[in-house]
């Protein structure tokens, strides 16, 4: 999957972001200040940068001006409008204000990767192959018929694999905010997916939480 550089001077937060991104299959590199970040960027190809603004030595804005070209999401504890505007006018692709939820970070990373076509658009697991571009699912090379809603749910599970998602969260992500249905709907759709794709052992029920696609 994608290679992501995390530039954040707070060690616990850096580590936390790294672990979350790794669990959905990204390769992560940590940098704790501006200089380190520049070194890493010079050494290898990076698909996406998560950049904290308040950094020791060289601040995030300066780092950003040096790395033009790589998709960047700014992270900051400051929610001031001027910072946001500055970040976005400099050409940042997105902006996240601390404290943020991991799912939000993952969703934004995913969206940015999709926009910049850095994400591999096929996913394979246990003979199941998903083509996100044509929105088709194959089991052992045979096309499996899925309703659009089922495909949405599958996509959410794949994008947030290894992360337990509550039924409410699944409803929100796959059905949208305005869906007024029961969480039982999620259960029904999960059962169908498990049966159709033979993913009973992969789509786990997490006790008192929801579901998780384990890879």
């Amino acid at each position: 999957m994608a290679t992501i550089l995390i530039v954040e001077d707070e060690i616990p937060i850096n580590e936390l972001i790294k672990r979350n991104l790794q669990s959905v299959g990204h390769r992560c590199i940590s940098a704790f200040d501006g200089m380190e970040a520049m070194d890493e960027l010079a050494q290898q190809e990076i698909d996406l940068v998560l950049l904290d603004i308040m950094l020791p030595e060289i601040d995030g804005f300066e780092v950003f001006q040096q790395i033009q070209g790589t998709p960047t999401i700014f992270l900051t504890a400051r929610s001031s409008l001027s910072d946001k505007v500055k970040g976005l006018t400099l050409g940042a692709d997105d902006y996240l204000v601390k404290p943020f939820e991991m799912l939000e970070l993952l969703a934004r990373v995913e969206a940015l990767l999709r926009r910049t076509n850095k994400e591999k658009r096929n996913f394979e697991l246990d003979g199941v192959e998903i083509d996100f571009k044509s929105r088709q699912v194959f089991l052992n090379k045979i096309l499996v018929e899925c309703t659009p809603r089922e495909f949405d749910l599958l996509e959410v599970l794949v994008n947030n694999r290894n992360i337990a998602l509550s039924r409410d969260k699944l409803l929100e992500l796959a059905w949208g905010y305005d869906y007024m249905g029961d969480t039982r709907t999620v259960d029904v759709h999960i059962q169908k997916l498990r049966k159709k794709l033979k993913l009973e052992s992969r789509i786990k029920t997490v006790y008192k939480m929801g579901y998780r696609l384990e890879v």
Partner: protein, 465 residues
């Protein structure tokens, strides 16, 4: 106020001025009339005696008394009427030869009982004219005849009237001038007051920089000066308040940031455990972070509490033995120093220090702790206590990495960090030097820092009291 003063002054002036005029004119009139009376008496006496002499002469020549009286009267009357004097002669209260006198004059009754050589003076009014009347008998043996002398004083009175009128007119003119000049003077006198009132109004409206121009060195200038002083005080107080408010805001902002960072980690790791963790190893890893971040929050809370108590409570100061103080500091830092392989040397040249032992302990430990953070292994920290210019001084010096001037100015601000990631990973709350400063202020001591990048930092506490 101005109008009141103006009216009062004017009224008082008018009152005294006109009563003066009235008094003077009355006195003039009275003295004029007195002199006229004296004159009339003298004239009457003169006329009466010469009349008697002439009568005597005529009698000796053989003329009858009645004839003599008549002819003499006529000549006297003619002579004196040219001098605004009317003479009448009467016998036993009957006026004689009244044909000479114009009919319009209605002469008043002459008092009946008049003794010889007695004369009565009175003021009478004849046809709108004032006369002084002197009534008296002729000298003996002609004392059966009474000579009455009227002297016209209407001129005196009318000239007095004229004078009074012109005095009043002049008085009015003077009053007019006075009113104008009084207004002018009052304007000048009240101008500073008006200036003060308008200035204080604009100060009240928020223009704290406004001042009054001070001229001369009278009471008004003094007042203006003290007003300016007051305005300055207000301005500086306002500025201090504004600065204090700004600092407080800064503190709150920083505190919010300081709280948000560990909370982000704690929430994130809890979420991580809930949603992702599947192995025991990951769980321990996450819980470790949660605990260390909690400890950080605890540190901040403790430090804030310490600062709050320091601000409100009065420190208990007494004579503290330097040996004890240094010993305690040494004990609480020796482990840390050994771990980082840093040598700390202690030296003191005075035996006692008047301070709160606990607070001084915190101050010194914090200063050395900061020095420890700045030093790499093999570093050297010295604590030196000595007397300089009669003040006790404690200096903590390290040979660590030092910092720039820019940082030096801010290091005692709450949550300010020279190197944020390192200080935080070392568990600092960012309040150590803020606390030190507070303790120093509490002890009326000066806390100052000097530093050079690459050579080290020196912290100096000077006890001024």
């Amino acid at each position: 106020m101005k109008i009141k003063t103006f009216l009062f002054t004017l009224m008082l002036f008018l009152l005294f001025f006109y009563s003066g005029i009235i008094l003077i004119s009355a006195m003039t009139l009275i003295s004029n009339l007195e002199s006229s009376k004296d004159r009339s008496l003298r004239e009457h006496y003169f006329i009466a005696s010469s009349y008697a002499k002439d009568l005597n002469a005529l009698e000796n020549r053989g003329l009858s008394i009645d004839n003599g009286v008549e002819s003499l009267y006529r000549s006297y009357f003619n002579f004196y009427s040219k001098q605004k004097v009317i003479l009448t002669i009467s016998k036993e209260n009957k006026q004689l030869y009244a044909d000479l006198i114009e009919e319009s004059y209605e002469l008043p009754e002459i008092p009946k009982t008049i003794k010889t050589s007695e004369r009565l003076v009175s003021i009478e009014k004849l046809v709108d004219k004032e006369y002084i009347r002197v009534v008296g008998t002729l000298p003996a043996p002609y004392d059966s005849y009474t000579l009455t002398y009227y002297y016209n004083v209407s001129d005196v009175i009318s000239s007095w009237n004229k004078m009074t009128v012109s005095l009043f007119l002049i008085g009015m003119l003077i009053c007019g001038f006075l009113a104008v000049s009084l207004l002018f003077v009052l304007n000048r006198v009240f101008k500073p007051l008006q200036l003060i009132s308008s200035t204080s109004k604009s100060i009240a409206n928020g223009q704290y920089g406004k001042r009054i121009e001070v001229k001369g060195d009278d009471e008004l200038a003094e007042m203006a000066q003290s007003f300016n002083h007051m305005a300055e005080e207000i301005q500086s107080q306002m500025q201090q308040l504004a600065i204090a408010a700004e600092q407080k805001q800064q503190f709150v902002d920083n505190l919010a940031h300081e709280l948000r960072t560990p909370l982000t980690s704690i929430y994130g790791y809890a979420e991580y455990i809930q949603k992702i963790v599947r192995t025991e190893e990951d769980r321990i890893f996450a819980t470790n972070y949660i605990m260390s971040e909690c400890r950080r929050l605890q540190n901040i809370a403790n430090r804030l509490l310490e600062m709050a108590t320091l601000r409100t409570s009065v420190s208990e100061r007494k004579k503290v033995e330097m040996s004890e103080l240094i010993h305690d500091v040494e004990q609480s830092l020796s482990m840390k120093a050994k771990k980082k392989q840093i040598e700390i040397s202690y030296e003191y040249h005075f035996n006692t220090l008047f301070c709160d032992a606990d607070l001084m302990h915190i101050l010194l430990v914090n200063l050395i702790d900061n020095a420890l953070k700045a030093c790499s292994s093999g570093g050297l920290i010295t604590l030196n206590a000595y007397i300089e210019n009669e003040h006790k001084v404690i200096v903590v010096q390290d040979n660590g990495k030092g910092m720039s001037k820019e940082h030096l100015n801010h290091i005692t601000e709450a949550f300010y960090r020279v190197d944020s990631s390192r200080s935080r990973s070392a568990g600092g709350a960012g309040l150590g030097l803020t606390l030190c400063k507070q303790i120093a202020v509490n002890h009326e001591a000066e806390l100052s820092f000097s530093s050079e990048i690459g050579k080290g930092t020196t912290a100096k506490v000077i006890f001024t009291s």
